[in-house]
């Protein structure tokens, strides 16, 4: 397990050295995108309006505040459940050249294959730690697709040493949360059986 600091745009070489369980901190452009952004790009075939080649997509729906001069400030921004983007993520990576996915929880086999094919990683930011994340954003440089509403829009954020991001899917196809789920499933059987024996309340 190693810790890296990366500056975006990142190269294939940067990504290839990352293994599941590594912790990274990233500097540069991070763009938010959740269900609707993925739907537009993948299902509706619209071009993603921001160039995120070598950069990061953040599964997050932030709370933003508009300043008097019309610019925006991040109040609170933390990761949302990545699994919701599973059906569209791989194609999204292929279409945009994005290299780092940030979210929470695991993603499935399609995204894992997408990370291999596109030399990308999925990473986990600690869930619910949205003020820490907001404080690591130095500037909001713009917003696209605001018609989707505040949480769903693509917010273009400049961040410094954004993290800790735990690598959960690497470009070789290792999947940390999947491995954990296998372990949890193994442990579950005997525990349920033991508890069940104590609960025969029916007369």
């Amino acid at each position: 397990m190693s810790t890296y600091e990366l500056t975006m745009p990142v190269s294939d070489e940067d990504i290839k050295k990352l293994k599941v369980g590594d912790v990274i901190f990233i500097t540069g452009t991070i763009v938010t995108g959740r269900d609707d952004v993925h739907h537009r790009v993948v299902k509706q075939g619209k071009k993603f309006p921001v160039d995120i080649k070598g950069k990061a997509i953040f599964h997050a729906g932030p709370i933003m505040k508009q300043n008097d001069d019309g610019s925006y400030k991040v109040v609170s921004v933390g990761p949302t459940t990545s699994m919701r983007m599973e059906s569209a993520q791989a194609e999204f990576l292929a279409k945009t050249g994005c290299k780092i996915i940030i979210g929470k929880g695991g993603m499935g086999p399609k995204t894992t294959q997408g990370c291999i094919d596109n030399v990308a990683v999925h990473t986990i930011f600690p869930g619910g730690c949205a003020v820490i994340a907001a404080e690591e954003v130095t500037k909001v440089s713009g917003v696209e697709w605001l018609d989707l509403g505040m949480p769903e829009a693509a917010w273009i954020l400049e961040a410094e040493k954004f993290g800790p991001l735990i690598v959960s899917i690497d470009s070789e196809g290792n999947n940390l949360i999947d491995e954990n789920k296998v372990l949890f499933a193994e442990r579950k059987g005997p525990v349920v059986e033991r508890i069940a024996k104590k609960l025969d309340f029916l007369e």
């Binding site: 609170s76 459940t81 695991g106 869930g127 619910g128 730690c129 505040m150 525990v191 508890i195 309340f201």
Partner: protein
């Protein structure tokens, strides 16, 4: 200021405070868990959680960006003087808090598929009423139902021969899969009843009970303890990244069932369990009993 405005302002401050501060019982349990989770990713994540709570307090910001769909569970005395206006007042308080906290816009009208942009919408805020005869005060519970922590929720009706065992199995299946995404350590709420909607509603009410409290029925209390212990043995850890523990606790609520059905409902509250409770008298004096010592 008229009384209606005063009550709206009080409830709005109540919502704002709850968006950036967890209730006392949750903070106390998380502190205990942090002591145990002292290795690997688990330690890193617990450090981040407490740092985040500190920042949220200092900067007066919602501690999690997902401030949820706003739900109220209200016990209203039938002699409360503002009973007629209370539903409107609760809605106004949400509108006000949305601007002041500020809260994220989380009400999407079904079928129109448009975010209303102010956290109110058709039947939202969701208000659940319990009438209390003869009293002139109200008890308002607020619950911010986030997306991630609502996702593991389910209700289904089992056949009696599947027994309480079926309930346990369903809970463990859900917690070891969907539960991983719900920002664990979660509080698990379980409802057991005769039909799906009763079980579902009770599972949410179970989440309003303090962490560490027990069902007064000894069998139910035993079941809470066993499930909690069992889930902890699985070691989901914070964020599903593995650890020595899994959950903050397990609360069960029940209603008498039909002889031919055992319905189970489950809801999870994430570690950022933003539940808040306030008692408001007819003179609008209040007791913010989930967050002791706080003046609104």
């Amino acid at each position: 200021m008229d009384k209606r405005e005063e009550l709206t302002g009080l409830l709005s401050s109540f919502i704002c405070h709850a968006s950036s501060h967890l209730p006392d019982d949750v903070v106390a349990r998380l502190k205990q868990m942090k002591e145990v989770e002292n290795e690997g990713f688990a330690a890193t994540i617990y450090d981040a959680m407490f740092e985040n709570l500190k920042l949220a307090d200092e900067l007066k910001r919602p501690s999690c960006q997902d401030t949820g769909v706003i739900q109220f569970f209200v016990k209203v005395g039938t002699k409360f003087p503002y009973m007629d206006e209370l539903a409107d007042i609760l809605k106004d308080a949400v509108l006000k808090a949305t601007k002041e906290a500020p809260l994220r816009h989380n009400a999407v009208e079904v079928f129109d598929e448009k975010n209303t942009g102010n956290n109110t919408g058709y039947r939202i805020p969701w208000i659940d009423w319990d009438l209390v005869p003869g009293r002139d005060d109200i008890e308002v519970y607020l619950y911010m139902a986030g997306g991630g922590c609502s996702l593991p929720g389910f209700a289904k009706v089992l056949m009696p021969l599947e027994g309480y065992e079926g309930v346990v199995k369903a809970v463990f299946d859900q917690m070891t899969t969907y539960g991983v995404n719900a920002c664990p350590p979660c509080l698990v709420g379980i409802g057991i009843a005769g039909s799906a909607e009763v079980a579902a509603k009770l599972s949410k009410k179970a989440l309003l009970r303090p962490v560490g409290s027990h069902n007064p029925n000894p069998r139910a209390a035993m079941m809470e303890e066993e499930i909690e212990k069992g889930l902890n043995e699985i070691g989901l850890g914070p964020g599903g990244l593995r650890g020595k523990l899994s959950v903050m606790g397990v609360n069960i609520e029940q209603a008498a069932r039909h002889p031919a059905t055992i319905a189970v409902g489950m809801n999870t509250a994430c570690w950022a369990h933003r539940r808040a409770g306030i008692r408001i008298g007819s003179d609008l004096s209040y007791e913010f009993f989930t967050h002791k010592g706080v003046t609104l």
